[in-house]
């Protein structure tokens, strides 16, 4: 099997693993696990007071998702750039 064929299969499996929970668990909230842990700490140890709060919090969900896309896009861009360079080098050698 060629590398790209193997990679496509692997990526399809990875995407399927990500999508399955959404399809299977219709009523789930899909909240962050850190928030759940926060609740657990306070349940177990109800006298505990977080002794420090975040210095800055982002203003809205929309801004959050915008910046998220930018982050992922730029990261993917760097990876694409480096991969493009690697594969080009190979062609020149041949």
């Amino acid at each position: 099997m060629k590398l790209w064929q193997k990679n496509i299969i692997l990526l399809i499996v990875a995407v399927a693993i990500c999508l399955l929970p959404i399809l299977l668990l219709k009523d789930a909230e899909f909240a962050g696990a850190d928030g759940i842990a926060e609740t657990a700490v306070l349940e177990m140890n109800d006298s505990y007071q977080p002794w420090f709060t975040p210095i800055f919090e982002p203003p809205s969900g929309e801004i959050e998702s915008l910046l998220f896309c930018v982050q992922a896009a730029i990261g993917a861009g760097v990876i694409g750039f480096i991969f493009g360079r690697m594969t080009r080098k190979k062609d020149e050698n041949n």
């Binding site: 692997l10 929970p21 789930a28 850190d34 177990m44 420090f52 975040p54 690697m86």
Partner: protein, 243 residues
């Protein structure tokens, strides 16, 4: 040289963008949720690892300047993966760590620095993780996870397991290890009615179970990226003594 400064520039842009990106980092222990004594203890434990990472990377990049491209790739890979909040079978969301690739390529002590930069920005600007929990979070993500990933990779390669399967197991177990350590850190600080074990199991069920399918994903994607590097960048990998 031009190439190098170009990549360095891109990496810096990445860091800056990342700094302003609110990321829900499910793995990070929340700001203020470790008592002061534990915050300080984990912070102190991290210091020698971060210093070692700095010295180690400096040496490695002087010896093999071409590996800079791979380091930039590892950084970018960790940033992309940590931007992807993925739903899990537990009905909650978490995200991969992406540090295993760097651990395999640059050894167990390289990622402590990369991870620290990521965590510091998140703590300061994104309200995720926290300054008081920085040491604990860096220990789980930048030290424990990479050490497990590296050990698994080396062990399996010694046992003549194929490259892809070794990389998959390293990334899968490295990712899980990060969350198991995070659960342990919370349990030590917050025992349930005096029992660290009961508390550990509870936090494990929150962090580690959610993480299993995500760790599988991280394993698969790491195999894809590593496969491409192994095919097209063989010389650099040999210079780093990976293959």
């Amino acid at each position: 040289m031009k190439m190098k400064s170009g990549l360095l520039g891109m990496w810096l842009v990445l860091i800056v963008i990342f700094a302003f990106t609110p990321t829900a980092n499910a793995m990070h222990i929340m700001e203020g949720f470790l008592p002061p004594a534990w915050s300080i203890a984990w912070g102190v434990i991290c210091v020698p690892f971060v210093v070692a990472a700095f010295i180690f990377l400096k040496k490695k990049l002087t010896e093999t300047p071409k590996s800079f491209v791979l380091l930039a790739l590892c950084g970018a890979f960790a940033f992309v993966l940590s931007a992807l909040k993925i739903p899990s079978f537990m009905g909650s969301c978490s995200h991969p760590t992406g540090v295993a690739l760097g651990a395999i390529l640059f050894g167990p002590f390289a990622m402590a620095l990369v991870s620290l930069i990521v965590l510091l920005f998140q703590a300061l600007l994104l309200a995720h993780g926290g300054l008081t929990t920085l040491g604990a979070n860096n220990f789980s993500m930048g030290i424990a996870g990479p050490i497990v990933a590296f050990a698994v990779y080396k062990g399996l390669r010694k046992a003549k397991v194929s490259l892809s399967i070794s990389v998959f197991c390293a990334a899968f177990l490295g990712d899980l290890a990060t969350y198991i350590v995070a659960a342990l850190q919370l349990a030590l600080a917050h025992p349930e009615e005096g029992s660290v074990m009961a508390s550990f199991i509870k936090f494990l069920s929150i962090f580690a179970l959610t993480q299993i399918p995500l760790a599988v994903c991280e394993g698969l994607v790491t195999v894809v990226v590593f496969g491409i590097i192994a095919k097209y960048s063989k010389k650099e990998l040999q210079a780093l003594k990976i293959l």
